[in-house]
């Protein structure tokens, strides 16, 4: 859902650029405060993974495809702040080097696909986690459902931008219906990819998953009476 140049007028694009810059700034500050040392390399891996999987367009309906946005996935794995940064970096590289998403629309694209999906997706994830039991399965399911909803939220963000500064002739209502309809389908794909990925990471290194940090039971040194005596002797 990369917006090309010319879809949204210049003032709206500029305003979105300011919002994106502010959001990235907040994310940088908060990520520096909250990101654990062992999660820093994971954030790099998450960005690389999202970059790769975004290329894998899957068919959703006749003549339409969709691809992973990745914000909710990144937020569950490394937190909403570092997660928003991961996707922003991907979008920056795509916009500058791969002609994917217009340069003037970079701010719009960061707002929709990095900030809305990472923050909105993580908020939905937290709500679901609260409603479900504290298990790994709940984390996987919550991540998948939140990711699906995050795609619809991103499409709604586009509709708002179109309503404010759209250059096309289509009515806002038409664009709303079409965008939400197709992105509900794309959201199903996003949810499946996100749940699979989170499930694998939870299976291999659950301690690295930011959104499952509460499941970590602290290591307890279990000692039997007499152990120290045996050791001493």
């Amino acid at each position: 859902m990369h917006i090309p140049d010319g879809f949204i007028n210049a003032p709206t694009s500029l305003a979105a650029g300011a919002v994106a810059a502010g959001g990235v700034g907040v994310s940088l500050r908060r990520a520096a405060e909250t990101l654990q040392e062992k999660q820093a390399p994971l954030a790099g891996l998450v960005a690389a993974y999202i970059f790769a999987v975004q290329m894998l367009n899957f068919p959703v309906a006749a003549g339409t495809s969709g691809h992973l946005l990745g914000g909710a996935l990144a937020a569950v794995l490394v937190g909403p702040w570092a997660g928003a940064l991961c996707v922003s970096v991907v979008l920056l590289v795509q916009g500058l080097l791969f002609a994917d998403g217009g340069l003037s629309a970079l701010g719009l694209n960061i707002v929709n696909m990095a900030l809305v999906t990472a923050w909105g997706g993580y908020a939905v994830f937290l709500l679901l986690r609260r409603a479900l039991p504290a298990t790994k399965t709940s984390v996987t399911v919550s991540a998948g459902v939140a990711a699906g909803i995050s795609v619809v939220l991103a499409s709604l963000a586009f509709v708002v931008e179109y309503a404010i500064g759209g250059n096309g002739g289509a009515s806002v209502g038409t664009v709303f219906a079409a965008m939400v309809g197709v992105h509900t389908l794309i959201g199903i794909g996003e949810g499946i990819i996100t749940a699979l990925t989170v499930g694998v990471v939870l299976g291999v290194r659950p301690d690295l998953v930011y959104g499952a940090a509460d499941l970590q039971t602290p290591l307890v040194l279990a000692t039997n009476p007499g152990d120290t005596a045996r050791e001493a002797s």
Binding site: M1, H2, I3, P4, D5, G6, F7, K38, P41, L42, L45, A48, Y49, F51, A52, V53, M55, L56, N57, F58, P59, V60, G63, T64, S65, G66, H67, Q94, L96, L97, F98, A99, D100, G102, L103, S155, F158, G166, N167, G168, G169, A170, T174, V175, A178, M179, V182, H183, L185, I186, V204, R205, L208
Partner: protein, 71 residues
């Protein structure tokens, strides 16, 4: 022990990402994605349409000459 595990995990993850990019991307759908499809379908008029307003990217072929561009 723990840090070498992390290294293996990161290396494995990177290999998965590279594998997906190189091997699976050939099977990716070439249909327009959701936003582009909506833009195409709701061309209200040839020159006032939604998709007709998309301008060519400034770096259509990358910032340097002859870079393979993603479709």
């Amino acid at each position: 022990m723990r840090s070498s595990n992390l290294r293996i995990f990161l290396l494995g993850g990177l290999l998965v990402a590279i594998g997906l990019a190189l091997l699976v991307s050939g099977f990716a759908s070439s249909s327009p994605d959701g936003l582009n499809k909506v833009a195409e379908d709701h061309k209200v008029a040839e020159d006032h349409g939604f998709a007709a307003n998309a301008r060519q990217h400034l770096f259509e072929n990358g910032p340097w000459p002859a870079t393979p561009s993603r479709v």
